[in-house]
């Protein structure tokens, strides 16, 4: 045990979970009296100093964070939830997740439901349909601590956590251009979403920097649905533009495209280079291993939650905009040395 004993030290000594200890220290109603007594006694003996967040904790909390995301089955969001959960658990908070199923109607209901459950704060990534943001503005008016992440609303004055969508897509496109590619197809996400828009801008900016034409026929407006991958691939081949690279919206799409390209006896990466997005666990094991963007989903969930907890602890918490860096992982699908 170091100089400053932590919640973890107390938990280990008493054979309790860290979340029980955190809750005991903040006088949470769910913890038994006897447990509280033991925890407080040991905390005094060890001269435990709570951190600033714990110090400022007030009563009347529910110790519940509400989360609204479009879809739990999208791997980005399920990883982000793991990050949210990790930070929340350590701080003695529970997480209540609602999925909007990418519907603005359900998103409105989700907001109401989580407010009714008196959550201490909200973490939100908006649905694909969300254009009118009145229901979200209403939360901010109530001064309920709220953090938006990934799919944010630019028009709302609130704390936000986003990836460096523009910069990383620029970089990946530049990688393709500087390794000799000239006709790069781009499978884009829905353009009413902030992150999809920024990424498409990054792709276009890279083409412009290298004085390559922006060919709208090579930009496919996808809807994140896997079913159309064959249609996209057939379309690109039927264009007769001799594309030499594809930058796909996610790894699943990229991998299915590589499969379809190989079926046509076209070689990856010799004839067509392919880059994905998300760097899924399985992407390194393909043939060829897939180049991809390492999208910091877990990190974004963690950061959003840390900011939210700071906001909950401090009424005067200033609005913050955090950008989490992505990474370009170059493997054989885009470049063979």
């Amino acid at each position: 045990m170091g100089m400053n004993p932590t919640v973890k030290d107390i938990a280990a000594k008493l054979n309790l979970s860290t979340s029980t200890v955190s809750r005991a220290l903040t006088d949470h109603p769910d913890v038994k009296k006897e447990t509280k007594r033991l925890v407080l006694k040991l905390a005094r003996e060890l001269d435990y100093q709570p951190n600033p967040i714990a110090l400022s904790l007030k009563k009347n909390r529910t110790y519940i964070l509400g989360v609204i995301i479009p879809e739990t089955s999208i791997s980005f969001f399920s990883k982000a939830i793991s990050g949210i959960q990790e930070v929340a658990s350590k701080a003695g908070y529970q997480v209540m997740i609602c999925s909007s199923h990418d519907s603005v109607d359900i998103e409105r209901q989700n907001v109401q439901t989580l407010l009714n459950s008196r959550v201490d704060g909200l973490i939100i990534s908006v649905s694909r349909e969300t254009q009118d943001v009145n229901h979200l503005a209403r939360i901010l008016d109530k001064r309920l601590p709220t953090v938006f992440f990934d799919r944010i609303c630019e028009e709302l004055q609130s704390t936000q956590v986003v990836a460096d969508n523009f910069a990383i897509t620029f970089r990946a496109t530049e990688h393709l251009i500087t390794t000799g590619r000239k006709r790069i197809a781009y499978i884009a996400g829905p353009q009413n979403l902030y992150n999809s828009r920024k990424r498409l801008e990054g792709y276009k900016a890279a083409l412009q920097k290298y004085k390559l034409p922006i060919d709208d026929d090579l930009i496919i407006a996808s809807h994140y649905e896997g079913e159309n991958v064959k249609t996209y691939t057939d379309y690109l081949f039927n264009l007769n533009r001799q594309i030499d690279a594809i930058f796909a919206i996610n790894d699943r799409t990229a991998i299915e495209m590589i499969h379809l390209i190989k079926q046509r006896q076209v070689k990856v990466p010799e004839d067509i280079a392919v880059v994905g997005f998300n760097n899924e666990r399985f992407s390194a094991f393909f043939d060829p291993p897939l180049s991809s963007i390492d999208h910091p989903a877990f990190e974004m969930g963690k950061t959003a939650t840390e900011l939210l907890l700071q906001h909950i602890a401090d009424d005067q918490f200033p609005i913050q905009k955090k950008v989490i860096k992505s990474d370009l992982i170059i493997r054989e699908s885009s470049f063979k040395s």
Copy 2:
């Protein structure tokens, strides 16, 4: 429009969502008076007949279903949630999801939180740590409609939805044996979980049927964590048992193992056949394409929710145990014709 107008027909005519119409028909407080008036007027005009579930709906509902699962980032659970969400949305219900993070402490808190939110019913898959089930028995004592799925508690008298774990693992093992495999390694899940136990039983029963020895050294107790795949693979090769097949706990493990096996210049399936579990979207696109169990995650979520809604509508709903069939998808990783 057919003979019996549906909620969908009413929704289309009024340009409303089906969930708004469902809620208007059951006098849900969230729906505006004017909307309710319009819906009821049209329902009368079309002679709309609500289905038995809608008929028996009572007041004082929150129209929220609570879900407790171990981890949203496990693909089985994120798919199951999609199934839950689909049925719930259509019935005008919202879903509130808590992840226990595979901790029984958090699971206990989740139960309390969802009860505090006055959910109309619960869908639960227990944590890896759950042995003492008092907190779950308490829900049943309260007569709150509850359905367990996948990771169920055999000792609790409640409605359950499970996959045919024993039968499908038996079948996959039999497939390996009848195509000539004799030393089949098995990467098992945590044995305190119902589904992992049943699957291991299926594997052993198939070996017994074909009078093959059960070699405990070939059974690896895994913990669903991807980090150990290399350790498992090294272990199996160091055994010097000349294993000729591997049945892995999930597709991610299977795919990483194939990658590691190929690095050793050993051929799949010629030298070692590999079968995975879950039939992930990407598994068909590997080299070789992966044989796998199509685990009916979405279907299980749907069925659990349908049973829960029936239970909510009917106090006298009898306890049911539903088994959802899995499928064995044979691809080149286990058999080359």
